[in-house]
Amino acid sequence: MPVTTLAQFSIERVEVMDHQGNVDESLMPDLSEEQIRHLYEMMVLTRQFDDRMLKLQRQGRLGTFARVMGQEAAHIGTTYALEKGKDWLIPAFRETGAFILWGTPLEDILAVNAGDERGQKIGEGVRVLPVSIPIATHLLHATGIAWAMKQKGEDAVALTVFGDGATSEGDFSEAMNFGGVFKLPVIFLCQNNQWAISVPYHKQTAATTVAQKAIAYGMPGVQVDGNDIFAVYRVAKEAADRARSGGGPTLIEAHTYRLSDHTTSDDARRYRTAEDLDPWLEKDPIPRLARYMEKQGMLDEDGVVQVREQATQKVADAVKAFEELEPADPERIFDNVFAERTPNLEEQLRWLKFRTGEGR
């Protein structure tokens, strides 16, 4: 009778490529040279765009935003495992690379970050939700979307992305639970970048890994080296395949690091030491992939330069388009509140027109 074991669990970590760009062939995902090159280009473009945004912000042309530096592999690799146009992406606010990968015009991203709502429009046929700022709240939307896909009989997957801090919010738990109970085709991707603003991982949770939180919801959880794009892609692909075939949700912990300040309003030196940051500089996912590609003969020094310059050009074009945007019409405030303006909003619009000088 007395003490019996009811259940046992173990949590694994997946790595495919080491820092020098050597891969474990047995785990290497099935990606063509072209695909790998595309991933590399996307990461480089994301990095350059992120850098440029910082400059624009410092010049006062953008508002506060969250950089993605260091986390490119984590969210680009995962999103790449999905099918654009069919699958859904439900991001937080630190997934610029995923937006770029799925074709959101860079100038739209700039516009949103300049506080221009027009940048928030969603591209035709792209199943992506806008940036969601209230932490962990959007995970629930992913469950509803995943349920809808299942109900409609579409074999589409919903990928939702969030940080380590998000795992402390009630909505994280409720979403994971819904995912588990309804066996939904959803991937919960935690970009565990070790920090939630100034709060380090060990103050966020007493769990050794984020991945083990999956156990509470009866779903598989796995940790992956988030700076290893092959490992990230591999676990995401596995999770997506499982989801599509009715196997339900997966929690992926992409173990990575926020190389930048939290946002442009933050100064991480107030709370973070060089000892904490420095080791991670060497784990940068971009040179790591470049080393692999060089070793495989997919990339040489010229290639590196070429990719960089292409990115520079794209960013420059976007900045130009952004700068040429005419100022938004204040009346937009009353658009898209409801499908149709209510009498009340019509009246308030008249007040506004009076103020802008258009009334009377």
Binding site: K121, L129, P130, L140, T143, A148, Q151, D171, N177, P343
Partner: protein
Amino acid sequence: MARLNMVQAIDQALQQEMERDDTVIVLGEDVGKDGGVFRVTEGLVERFGENRVIDTPLAESAILGFSIGAAIAGFRPVAEMQFSGFSYPAFDQMVSHAGRMRKRSQGTWTVPLVMRTPYGGGIRALEHHSESMEAIWAHIPGIKTVIPSDPYDAKGLLIAAIRDPDPVVFYEPKRVYRAIKMEVPEESYEIPLGKAQVVREGSDATLIAWGAQVRTCKAAAEQMSAEKRGEVEVVDVRTLNPFDRETVIGSVRKTGRAVVVSEEPPTVSFTSEIMAQIMEHAILKLEAPARRVTGFDTPTPLAKLEDWFLPDVDLVIRETLKTLEF
């Protein structure tokens, strides 16, 4: 025509909408086999199956957040909060997302959901089960707040709410659930959102109410009429937001006197908004200051003292007379 109570009328509305449009789904705690703790969803799961009538885990934020996602992906979720007093965990999802997704996606993603919930006092319930916090929903941009007062309206307003392209909070006065029966047409009909209704005509003063208090006001008006103390108009607000100023304030402009009646704690309640609207749009027609009859700025008392908190016919008459005698 069948005589239905409000529970039956709402159930029928749900049945008919689910029949008509298979993107309509119902979800919440105990809405399936149990048919909801008030039996409002009775028979639904038997008819439409567990995929469309979903017993969810016990998590209100999730019920609403999931509904937002399902709505974005093409469904029309009707989410039940078991009691309005347990809907607060869903407040964040409503303010931060439901009311903004259309805006935030520049019209691409929309959230045609309905959050139904029983509210209000008068049934001697436990703590948290008798609240009237409609004001917090009516304050949120991008969502609509609807409150029916009788079975006929409940059916027509709920059908309109389900078909509405935007999120709607649908507060159901639980005290009315089984208190009255009335003729409710079998066929489907919509009562447009955003339209108040004059439920009794009168020229001496206007009583403004919604939900269960409409009955209180009608009874007060009838009694006053019978006692020849005045002919009082009664307006049922029906939709708090968007507010039908034309009908509600129009009546006040006509009668020149107004009493606003609700079960809310008065500070920053929907009665405050109506008083403000009277100030802005009817003051020059007033023959007496508009008055309010409300609950108190205290927690809703437990059952034994609840009656002292809720407006009743005597109180409404007394305050209306003060207005008339001003």
